[in-house]
Each structure stands twice: as structure tokens, then as C-alpha cells.
């Protein structure tokens, strides 16, 4: 593979998107898991809609919001003087929105399964609520949360439909590896398509193996 820029764009987009989706997703999942209100399920449904939506539909909505004709896109252009869509930022937002629901759903289920007696015990020991959340709840739920992060990572790395609509296909800027593979197939560049696909498959496999390893260690 001669041109490494799609790989670098992909890695950067995926890492940033996974970090942002994990930070926001775990927080939201915790809040949802602890919420007693019936609105919790409504909020969760809204957040997890991207799992069910076809990526092109999600891409269309994001493009409508973030494009220079959309409300967020216009505000962004007012602030920074350049558009979000068809840039690496656009690709990152696409990947984050795609990854977020996987983190939220999986983490929420994991957090709900934490035995409340453990949390109560911690409270009785005098731990403040924040410490209980971090040192007990999230720690006990960490295997499930890691699984959610892994799913989110996989989705962020593999996204094509949303990315191609929101970030386009600008080589060296917004072109991620999955999009570059598609482009290479269209250009008849079989070597690039094959190598790009191999790299993507290898990254996915390595990350999932690492996470599995981490989970085994955590469960001990």
C-alpha cells in the first residue's frame, strides 16, 4: 500500500471517536442506569436509534444538520470560518455518532447488573457518591463497558455509509480507509483495495483480541 494517508485518517478518526464516544457514552449510560424516570427509556431509544437506522439515513440527517445549509453547520462556519462537512472533523463526528449508541447500550446493561448491595456497602463505608460510581459501580461493570467500547471502536473504524455522506472522499483529508477501499475498487486499483481491506481486518482482529485479553484479566 503506497498511500498511507487513509490509514492515518482512519486511525485518528477512530481513536478520537472512540475516546469521545466512551467518555460521553459511559456517563450517559451511568445516568440512564440510575435514572428512575420513565423518560430514561425514551432518552435511551433516541440515543440508540443510530444502531437501527441505515447509515445512509443517519448520514443524511447529519449532513442536513452539519452542512453549510444546516443550523449547526452554519453556526460552526460562523465560529471557525470553514465548514465541518467533508473534513476530518466531519468524519470524526460521523464515527462518534455511530459508535456512541454501542457504548451506551452495552454499558447501561452492564451497570444495571451491578449488585446494588455492593454500592450500598460502599456508601456505608462513607464513600461519596462519585467514588461509589467510579470505584465500585463502573469497576464492577468494566467488562461490559469494555465490550461496549470495543463495539464502538469497531463501528467507528468500519463506518462507510455515514462517513461517505458527511465526510466525502477527499484523499489526505477526510478519506478514511474504508472509503479509500471503495474508491480503489472504483478506480480499478485492486492492489490497494486488497491491502487496505487486509489492514482493516488486521486492526479489527488485533483490537478485539486485545480487549478479550483485557477482559479475561479483569475477570480474575
Amino acid at each position: 500500500m503506497t498511500d498511507l494517508s487513509p490509514l492515518l485518517v482512519s486511525l485518528r478518526v477512530t481513536i478520537v471517536a472512540t475516546l469521545v464516544a466512551s467518555a460521553a457514552g459511559i456517563t450517559v449510560a451511568y445516568a440512564l442506569a440510575k435514572m428512575r424516570s420513565r423518560w430514561a427509556s425514551v432518552i435511551e431509544a433516541i440515543i440508540t436509534v443510530p444502531i437501527v437506522l441505515p447509515p445512509t439515513v443517519l448520514g443524511y440527517y447529519l449532513l442536513t444538520l452539519l452542512g453549510s445549509r444546516g443550523p449547526i453547520g452554519r453556526a460552526w462556519e460562523g465560529l471557525f470560518g470553514s465548514p465541518i462537512v467533508f473534513t476530518v472533523t466531519g468524519a470524526t463526528i460521523a464515527a462518534t455518532v455511530s459508535a456512541l449508541p454501542f457504548v451506551v447500550r452495552t454499558s447501561r446493561a452492564a451497570i444495571r447488573q451491578v449488585d446494588p448491595r455492593l454500592e450500598e456497602a460502599a456508601r456505608i463505608c462513607g464513600l461519596p457518591e462519585r467514588e461509589v460510581a467510579i470505584r465500585v459501580t463502573l469497576r464492577v461493570a468494566s467488562r461490559g463497558i469494555l465490550a461496549g467500547v470495543a463495539l464502538g471502536f469497531a463501528r467507528a473504524l468500519g463506518d462507510f455509509g455515514v462517513t461517505v455522506m458527511v465526510a466525502g472522499n477527499v484523499p489526505g483529508r477526510s478519506q478514511t480507509l474504508p472509503v479509500a477501499v471503495y474508491d480503489a475498487v472504483q478506480a480499478g486499483d485492486d492492489t490497494y483495495a486488497r491491502n487496505g481491506s487486509l489492514v482493516l481486518a488486521a486492526i479489527a482482529l488485533v483490537v478485539l483480541l486485545l480487549l478479550a485479553q483485557l477482559q479475561v484479566r479483569r475477570s480474575r
Binding site: R12, V16, V20, A23, A24, T27, V28, A31, K34, M35, R36, S37, L63, G67, S68, R69, G73, E77, F80, S82, P83, I84, V85, F86, T87, V88, T89, T92, I93, T96, P116, R117, E120, R123, I124, G168, N169, V170, P171, G172, R173, D183, V185, Q186, A187, G188
Partner: protein, 278 residues
Amino acid sequence: MVEHHLAKVRVAGSNPVVRSIVKAGRLGVRLLLAGASILVVGGCARSADSSDALVVAAASDLRDAFGELAGELGTTDVGEVTFVFGSSGMLREQILNGAPYDVYVSANVGFVDEVIAAGMSVSAQPTIYAIGSLAVVTSGEVELTSIAAVVTDARRIVIAQPKHAPYGVAAREALQTLGLWDTVESRIVYADNVADAVRIVQSGEVDAGIVARSLVINDPHLVVDSSLHEPLRQAAVVLRGPRESRARAFVDALRTDTVRALMVRYGFDTDVAASGEE
């Protein structure tokens, strides 16, 4: 026993309404922080984004010709060029949504007019620099005799999607003019863009395709009589943005003798009346 005791502790904690409000408040703060971090990341990303290559959004019939062009322009005022290829209609849609492209090169002057009308361009007129043509190609199973014979024999025929690809529109028009469209329509396969159509024929997935001649110039092909369809007027326009002067140099270069000779080698007709600006 223990559970009962714990339940009491929880209730004693504080008023559940107050608690949930506090929690919602905390959640809000965290979401804001998350949002802010996205902005920061976006900001960093943007600065890394301003690499200096000129971004030219070009119709996919130019994939081969412009691939060669990039090397020739490197030493001129244009500098380094990055091409984004796609169907002209898709690129137009991206430009209207704010894609940071510097030049738009369409296979159809109508799309350029729309971009100009939307106020996205520097120039008020498109620069028409060449006329494209259609060619019939086959995967080898069908003999290249005449367009009518090929489309009659082929089980499936690929053309670019006419909804957003000018070569797809021209292919459909040619078939309509020949009176073949109605019999052929059910066997047509639509490709994303004309380069994709070429790939589909060359991979043998379909028997025949009506595609851009510029993409099959080195392969056996039949040129489709250009009187069968509206002319495929290739048009370029300088888009608003930070690299307008280099973008102008690129568009001007399209009408230099060197580039015209290159385009002619790819089967374009560059003998267009001095149209557009000036």
C-alpha cells in the same frame, strides 16, 4: 435482613427528586464537557486539515486523464493537486452542502450553472473546455459490432445513474434516440458513477456498458455517435475559498495546448468555441 437495612439507608440518603435533579445537572455539565472536547478536537483537526493541496472535485470520467494531468501541473502555479472523483451530481450536492473544494469540474455544464446560481463560485460563468463522448464496451462475451447489436445481445447493460451522472443521462438519451430504451430498460444496471460502470463491465459482472470514452480509450470500444445525445459539455468553475488564485490557475490550465493535447489523447473534443468567461 441486610437488604431491608440497606433500603433504609438509601431512602435516608436524600430526597429522590433533589437527587435526580442534581444528577441531571451533573450529566449536563459532563455533556457540555464532552461537547467542548469535540470542539477542541475539531479545532485541532481543522488546523491539520489546511494542508496545501488544491482540492479539485472532478467528474469521474476524468479519473484517467486527470491522473496524468496531476504530474504535469506540479511545476506550475497550480502546485500540488488532490482530486476527488465522483458523479458530477453527487459532487454538486457536496459543494452545495459546503464541501471545501477549490475547483469543480463537471461532465455537464448544467450542474456548474446550479453551483454558480447558489453563489458558491468565484466566476459567474462556467469554463467549458472539452466535449466528452460515449463508448460501448463489453466484457468479452458479447461481440463489439454495433451499439444496437450489443445492447440487444447483452443480458445486462451498465450505465451510470442518470439521476446524478451526466454520462448516464447521455447513455439513456442515445438509447432513446435509437428507439431501444423501452426494450433495454429492464436489463439496465445503474452504477454510482461512470468510472464504477467501467469497473462493473471490466470485472465481467455485466456483459456490456455504455460509458465515458475517456475511461476506455486503451480498451476495445465502439464510439457512440455524439448526435444521438445532448453534448457532454465538460465545464469547470473556481469555487470560493482560501485557494482561489491557484484554483483559477488550474481552470486556466485546462485550456492550454499541453492539457488540450492530453485531453484529445483521452478522446475528448477540445475544439469548443471560446465559451464561458472572458
